[in-house]
C-alpha cells in the first residue's frame, strides 16, 4: 500500500518521459497532475484506514534487498510520518497545479517534480536507515536540477550551495548510520533492530552530534542555514513551496526519528544545548528577516525562525511537546506554502519582489486584492494569531516546552512578536498604500493563480478552528515514543541530568530559593 506512494510517481515520470514529442507541451502537465491527484487521493485513503489508537507502525511492507549490506526495503508509517506523507502529497499536487503552464522544458520539469514527490514520500516511510538515506539523497537531485534550470538570475550559485550543503548533510547522516550499525555490532540497518541496542553514552554523544549536524543543515539550524535563503530566492515558486513545506521537514523528521529515538540518553544530555540553539535560531531568523527587502528572503528567514520552534519542542521531548513539534511541522508546511504561493503570484504579475518598489497591491481594481488578502491571512497565521493553525501549534509547543525549558521557551516566544514585525513591514509596504503608476497595468490574475493559495488558506483556518483533526493522527504515537524512550533509558536516567519537572522551576531557578510545593493540579 505504501509502495504506491513511491512507485506511482516514478511510473508517472517514466510515462511523461515516453510521451511523443508532439504531446509533451500539453500532456506532461496533465499526466503529472493526474498522478499527483491520484497520490493525494491514495494518501487520504491511507489516512482513513489508519488506526488512531495503534501506537506502532502501520501498513508495514518488507522485502529483502541487499542483505549483505543490511539494506532491506522496509516501509511503514506511524503518527509521526503519516501527517508528513499527507502534506507531501498535498503540496506536491499544489506545486504541480501552480506551475506555469508555459514553462520551458515541461517534460523534464514534471519528471523531476514527480521523482521529488516519490523520494520524499519514501524517506518519510523508510524503516531502514540505509533506505532512508537513499531516498534522502535521491530527493536532492531533482531539487538541485529544478533550481539550477528554472531558477532566477543567480541560480547557479544557489543550486550549487544547496547541493554542497545537503550533500555534506547526507555524508554526516550516512556516517552516523554506519557508526551506529557497526558499533552496535549488528549487521543490519533495520530501524527496529537498532532501536533495541544501547551504546555507551560517550559513543552515543559522538554519533548523535554528527547526526544532528547533518539534519541541522537540512532543518536548517543557525548557523548552518545560509543555503536556505539563497535557494528560496532563486527557486521557482513551486520548488519554494516544496522546499519550505516538505523538504525542511525531512530534517526535523530525521531528527525526531533517528536522533531522539535511537540515542535517548545522549539526547537527554544535549537537550539543554539544543533548546538554546533553538532560541538562537528563532531570534536570529526573525531578526534577519526584519532586515530583508526581498519578499522571498523574508519568508525564507521566517522559516529559519519557525523551524526553531520544532527544535525547541524536540529538545523538551515530552509527549505533548512531540505532538507540538509534529503540529508545528504541519502548520509551518501549510503556512509557508501559502506565503510562497502569494509571493510567487506577486512576482509573476509585477516582476519584482522588492518591498521598497512594490506598493498598494491591495487596490481592488488594478492590484491583486485576493492574493493580498490571502497573504495577510498567511502572515497573521505565521505570526500566531488565533483562529489559524499556527497559533495552535505554537501554543502547544510553548506550553509543553515551558515545563522543561522555561527560560528558553519565554525567549523564543519573542520570536512570534518579531514575526509580526517583519510580516507587517512586508504587508504594509507591498499591499498598503497607493498603487503607483508603474504597477497600474498588471497582467490579469486568473483562477489558476488563486486556487492553490485558497485551498491552503481554507485548511489553515479550518485546522486552526478544529485542531483535533490535526493532532489526532499523532497523539498515540507521541505518547508511545516518549514511553518507549523512557523504558529504554532507565539505566542512566537519573545520573545524566535531572529534568526539572517541577512547574515552579522558573521561580526556583530565578530566585535560588527552595522549591515551593506544587500547587493543586
Amino acid at each position: 500500500m505504501l509502495s504506491v506512494l513511491i512507485w506511482v510517481p516514478i511510473l508517472g515520470a517514466v510515462i511523461i518521459g515516453c510521451l511523443p514529442e508532439s504531446m509533451v507541451a500539453t500532456r506532461s502537465r496533465q499526466v503529472a497532475l493526474a498522478v499527483a491527484t491520484g497520490l493525494l487521493g491514495w494518501s487520504l485513503y491511507l489516512s482513513s484506514q489508519f488506526h488512531l489508537s495503534e501506537p506502532g507502525l502501520q501498513f508495514q511492507e518488507g522485502l529483502p534487498w541487499i542483505e549483505s549490506l543490511g539494506l532491506t526495503y522496509q516501509l511503514g508509517v506511524d503518527g509521526l510520518s503519516l501527517p508528513l506523507v499527507l502534506i507531501n502529497s498535498l503540496l506536491s499536487w499544489l506545486a504541480i497545479y501552480s506551475s506555469d503552464g508555459q514553462i520551458h522544458r515541461p517534460r523534464f520539469y514534471y519528471i523531476l517534480l514527480l521523482i521529488l514527490n516519490g523520494a520524499v514520500a519514501g524517506a518519510f516511510m523508510s524503516q531502514n536507515l540505509l533506505l532512508f538515506f537513499l531516498f534522502f539523497e535521491l530527493e536532492l537531485i531533482p531539487l538541485y536540477l529544478v533550481i539550477a534550470i528554472w531558477g532566477g538570475a543567480r541560480r547557479g550559485y544557489a543550486a550549487m550551495k544547496f547541493l554542497i550543503y545537503t550533500a555534506v548533510s547526507g555524508v554526516l547522516i550516512l556516517a552516523t548510520f554506519f557508526g551506529l550499525s557497526l558499533l552496535s555490532g549488528s549487521s543490519t540497518f533495520d530501524y527496529a533492530v537498532l532501536q533495541e541496542h544501547t551504546l555507551p553514552l560517550s559513543t552515543q554523544l559522538v554519533l548523535l552530534i554528527t547526526l544532528l549536524i547533518g539534519f541541522g543543515i537540512k532543518i536548517p539550524v543557525v548557523p548552518l542555514h545560509t543555503w536556505l535563503p539563497d535557494a528560496h530566492v532563486e527557486a521557482p515558486t513551486p520548488a519554494s513551496v516544496l522546499l519550505a513545506g516538505v523538504l525542511l521537514k525531512l530534517g526535523t523528521y530525521g531528527m525526531l526519528r533517528f536522533g531522539l529515538q535511537l540515542f535517548p540518553e545522549a539526547w537527554r544530555v544535549i537537550a539543554p544545548g539544543l533548546a538554546t540553539l533553538a532560541v538562537v535560531s528563532v531570534l536570529y531568523g526573525s531578526f534577519a528577516a526584519i532586515a530583508q527587502t526581498d519578499m522571498k528572503k523574508i519568508v525564507a528567514y521566517s522559516s529559519v525562525g519557525h523551524m526553531g520552534y520544532i527544535l525547541l519542542a524536540a529538545a523538551a521531548a515530552t509527549p505533548l511537546s512531540l505532538l507540538g513539534a509534529i503540529a508545528q511541522m504541519i502548520s509551518h508546511g501549510l503556512i509557508s506554502a501559502l506565503l510562497f504561493l502569494g509571493v510567487g503570484a506577486v512576482y509573476a504579475k509585477t516582476g519584482t519582489r522588492d518591498i521598497n518598489v512594490l506598493r498598494g497591491l491591495l487596490s481592488p481594481e488594478r492590484g491583486l486584492p485576493l492574493i493580498g488578502s490571502l497573504m495577510i491571512v498567511g502572515a497573521m497565521a505565521s505570526a500566531g494569531i488565533p483562529g489559524m493553525m499556527g497559533f495552535v501549534a505554537e501554543f502547544i509547543v510553548y506550553r509543553s516546552s515551558f515545563e522543561v525549558f522555561p527560560v528558553q521557551t519565554l525567549l523564543s516566544m519573542v520570536g512570534t512578536g518579531l514575526t509580526a514585525v517583519y510580516f507587517l513591514i512586508m504587508i504594509n509596504k507591498v499591499f498598503f498604500g497607493r498603487l503607483p503608476d508603474s504597477l497600474a497595468n498588471l497582467p490579469r490574475v486568473r483562477w489558476h493563480d488563486r486556487v492553490p493559495a485558497m485551498i491552503v488558506t481554507v485548511l489553515i483556518v479550518f485546522l486552526g478552528l478544529q485542531p483535533s483533526w490535526m493532532t489526532r493522527w499523532s497523539q498515540t504515537t507521541a505518547v508511545a515514543l516518549v514511553e518507549d524512550r523512557l523504558n529504554r533509558s532507565t539505566t542512566t536516567f537519573a545520573e545524566v541530568r535531572s529534568v526539572p519537572s517541577d512547574p515552579d522551576w522558573l521561580s526556583l531557578q530565578l530566585t535560588g530559593s527552595e522549591s515551593p510545593k506544587r500547587p493543586i493540579h
Binding site: I290, A291, L320, I385, A478, D504, S507, P519, I520
Partner: protein, 615 residues
C-alpha cells in the same frame, strides 16, 4: 426554554463571525454585480439576531446564578483545552450592550460609509469585531479570552487600515497592531506560565487556585506583570497607549466601538485576572501607578489636541485609567459599572463627532464653529454625551464615579484627588470642544452644514435617549445607592470639579471676546502635550531601537560572518584549485619530488606524535 437559551448562548459570538465569513465573497470583491449592500444588510441582520438572542438569554438568566458551559475543544496528552463560557447577568448583559452598540454603529455606518466602495469589507470586519468581543464577554477561560483578544488585535489592524491607500493610515495600522502585539506577547507568556502553574486556565478554576497558590514573590510578580501587559495594551494605558490615538485614522463607525467597548474588553479580562494579579503586590502597584498616570496624563494630553477624534480618544485612555484604578482597589463591580456608563457615553460622543466629520469633511477643531444651530440632533447628542461622561448628577458616569470614590474613601482617599482632576479636566476639554465646534462663528467648512441623514441620525438620537434613560434603568436594577448611603461630600466634590472645569472652559471658549486659539500655558508645555508627552520617542528609544539594531546586527552577521565564511571556503577552494593547476607541468620529476616531500612531511608528522617529541 431557559435551558435551550442557556445551551445556545455561545451562538451569540458565532452570529457575528458567521456574518463576516458568509459575506466574504462581497468583501474580497468576488461578487461585484450586486454592489456591497447585501453584505452590509446581512451583517446587520446577523447582529440583530445576536442582539435578540442575547436579549432572550439575558431575560432568562437574570435571576439565575452564573452557570458555566463547557465545550471540549482540544484534548492532548496531559493537556486539555476546554472553551468555557459563563452565562451570568454580567456576562450576558455585557454581550447585550456590545451587540446593541454594534448594531447602532453598523446602522450609523450605512450612512457614514454610504459611498465607500469597500462597504462590504467594513461590515465583515465589524462582524468579526463583534464576534470577538461578545466571545470575550462570555468567556470563562483565559485561553479563549486571550485568543479573542488577539483576534481583536487583528481586526483592529484591519479596521484601522481600512483606507489603506492613505499614508497615515498605513503607519497607524502598523502601530496599532504592533503596540497591542507587545501587550499580547507578554500576556501569552503569562498565559503559558499560568497554564503550567495552575493546570487549568478557567477563571473559575484560577479563583480557586490563587487561594492555595504558593508562588515565590518573583514568579508571582513576573506573572502578574505579564498578565497586566495584555489589558494595558488593549485599554490604551501608558506605556502602550499611543495606538488608540493613531487608530483614529480609521473610519468613524469603527471608532465608536473601539472607544466604547473594545477598550472595555481589555479591562473586562483584567477584572477577571485581578485575583491572580493580587498574588503580587508589585503587580498590583504597577497597575495602580499606570492607571493613575494614564488617567491624569491622558486628560492633559486630550486638552492639547486639535483633532476632534484624537482629543476624545485620549479621554478614553484617561477613563480606562480610572477603571484600572478601580480594579487595583479591588472594586470589580464599580469597574464594570464604569465601563458600561463610559462606553455608552463615549459611543454617543463618537456618533456625534462622526456626523460632524462627515458634514464638514474635516477633523480639525480650529476649522469649525457655529454648528449648534445647524445640526440640532448632533448638538444634543454631543451635549448629552458630554454630560454623561463627566459626573453630572443624574447621568451615567456620575453614579460610576460616585461608587468609585465611595470605594476608595476609606482605603486610599488620595485617589479621589485623581478622580476629581480627571473629571475636571474632562469637563474642561469637552466644554472646549463644544465651544470650538458648536459655538462661535461659522467658518468656511461649517457654513453649509445640514443635519446628517436619517441612517446616522436615528442611531444617534436613539442612543441620546438611551443615555438619558440609563439612570432610570439603574434605578430599576437597584444599582443606585439610596440617599442615606450617599456621601454628600463626595457628591459635592464631584459636581464642583466638573463645574469648575466646565466653567473655566466656558469662560474661555464660549466667550467671543477671547481670541482663539488660546494660549493657556507656555509653548513648550503645549507642544509636549500635543505630542502625547513624546511617547513615540520613548518607543523609538526602547523597543524600536532594540529591534532595529538587533535586526541590523543579525543581518550583518548573516551576510558577512556566517555567509561570508561559507563563501570564503568556496572561493578559497576554487582559488587553490585554480592556482594549483599551474603546477601541472607535465614533467614527471616534478611530480616525484612533490610526492617525496609530501611523504617525508607526513612521516615526520606521524613519528612526531608517535614518539611524543615535543618542541
Amino acid at each position: 426554554m431557559n435551558q435551550l437559551l442557556f445551551q445556545t448562548s455561545w451562538w451569540v459570538p458565532v452570529y457575528g463571525l458567521a456574518g463576516a465569513l458568509l459575506t466574504l465573497p462581497w468583501s474580497v470583491g468576488l461578487v461585484r454585480r450586486t454592489g456591497p449592500r447585501p453584505a452590509a444588510y446581512f451583517n446587520i441582520l446577523m447582529t440583530i439576531l445576536a442582539l435578540v438572542h442575547s436579549g432572550l438569554v439575558l431575560w432568562a438568566v437574570w435571576d439565575l446564578p452564573p452557570e458555566r458551559l463547557l465545550v471540549p475543544w482540544l484534548s492532548l496528552p496531559g493537556f486539555d483545552i476546554w472553551l468555557t463560557f459563563v452565562t451570568s447577568r454580567t456576562s450576558v448583559g455585557a454581550v447585550f450592550v456590545i451587540t446593541g452598540l454594534s448594531l447602532l454603529a453598523q446602522v450609523f455606518a450605512l450612512g457614514y460609509l454610504e459611498k465607500d466602495w469597500a462597504l462590504a469589507r467594513f461590515y465583515a470586519l465589524m462582524g468579526f469585531f463583534e464576534g470577538a468581543m461578545t466571545g470575550i464577554a462570555l468567556s470563562d477561560s483565559l485561553f479563549l479570552s486571550y485568543a479573542l483578544l488577539e483576534m481583536l488585535t487583528l481586526s483592529t489592524y484591519l479596521l484601522v487600515g481600512f483606507w489603506y491607500a492613505q499614508p497615515l493610515v498605513v503607519t497607524a495600522a502598523r502601530d496599532a497592531f504592533l503596540t497591542k502585539r507587545v501587550g499580547d506577547l507578554l500576556l501569552l507568556m503569562g498565559v503559558v506560565t499560568l497554564s503550567t502553574l495552575a493546570g487549568s486556565l478557567d477563571f473559575t478554576h484560577l479563583d480557586q487556585w490563587v487561594k492555595v497558590a504558593n508562588l515565590s514573590p518573583l514568579t508571582a510578580t513576573l506573572l502578574g506583570l505579564a498578565l497586566l501587559a495584555g489589558p494595558t495594551g488593549k485599554c490604551a494605558i501608558f506605556p502602550l497607549n499611543l495606538w488608540l490615538d493613531e487608530a483614529m485614522e480609521g473610519p468613524n463607525p469603527a471608532s465608536i466601538l473601539r472607544n466604547s467597548v473594545v477598550v472595555a474588553c481589555g479591562a473586562y479580562v483584567l477584572i477577571k485576572l485581578q485575583p491572580v494579579l493580587a498574588l503580587s503586590p508589585i503587580a498590583l502597584n504597577t497597575l495602580m501607578i499606570l492607571g493613575a498616570m494614564t488617567a491624569v496624563g491622558a486628560s492633559l494630553v486630550s486638552i492639547a489636541q486639535i483633532d476632534i477624534k484624537r482629543t476624545l480618544s485620549h479621554s478614553t485612555s484617561a477613563y480606562l485609567g480610572l477603571v484600572f484604578l478601580a480594579v487595583g482597589t479591588q472594586q470589580d463591580e464599580v469597574a464594570l459599572l464604569f465601563l458600561l456608563t463610559h462606553g455608552i457615553a463615549k459611543a454617543l460622543l463618537f456618533m456625534s463627532i462622526g456626523s460632524i466629520i462627515l458634514t464638514t469633511s474635516t477633523q480639525d477643531l480650529t476649522e469649525m464653529g457655529g454648528l449648534a444651530s445647524r445640526m440640532p440632533a448632533t448638538t444634543s447628542a454631543f451635549v448629552v454625551g458630554s454630560l454623561a461622561t463627566v459626573g453630572v448628577l443624574p447621568l451615567g458616569c456620575f453614579w460610576a464615579m460616585l461608587a468609585w470614590s465611595d470605594g476608595v474613601w476609606f482605603k486610599a482617599p488620595e485617589l479621589i484627588g485623581i478622580l476629581l482632576v480627571v473629571n475636571g479636566l474632562t469637563a474642561f476639554n469637552l466644554t472646549r470642544v463644544f465651544g470650538l465646534v458648536f459655538w462661535g462663528k461659522p467658518q468656511p467648512k461649517t457654513r453649509r452644514a445640514p443635519e446628517v441623514m436619517w441612517l446616522m441620525a436615528l442611531p444617534m438620537v436613539f442612543l441620546t435617549v438611551l443615555t438619558l434613560l440609563l439612570p432610570l434603568l439603574f434605578w430599576r436594577w437597584q444599582i443606585l445607592p439610596s440617599w442615606s448611603e450617599v456621601n454628600p461630600i463626595l457628591v459635592g466634590l464631584l459636581l464642583l470639579s466638573g463645574l469648575l472645569g466646565c466653567g473655566l472652559a466656558g469662560w474661555i471658549y464660549l466667550n467671543p471676546r477671547i481670541t482663539k486659539p488660546v494660549s493657556l500655558v507656555g509653548k513648550s508645555v503645549r507642544e509636549v502635550l500635543a505630542y502625547d508627552f513624546c511617547i513615540d520617542r520613548l518607543y523609538k528609544l526602547s523597543v524600536v531601537l532594540g529591534v532595529v539594531q538587533g535586526s541590523r546586527l543579525t543581518a550583518w552577521l548573516d551576510r558577512y560572518v556566517v555567509d561570508g565564511l561559507v563563501n570564503f571556503v568556496g572561493v578559497a577552494s576554487i582559488f587553490s584549485g585554480e592556482s594549483l593547476k599551474y603546477t601541472i607541468s607535465g614533467q614527471s620529476r616534478n611530480y616525484l619530488l612533490t610526492l617525496f616531500v609530501g611523504v617525508l612531511l607526513a612521516l615526520t608528522l606521524l613519528s612526531w606524535t608517535h614518539w611524543g617529541w615535543s618542541l
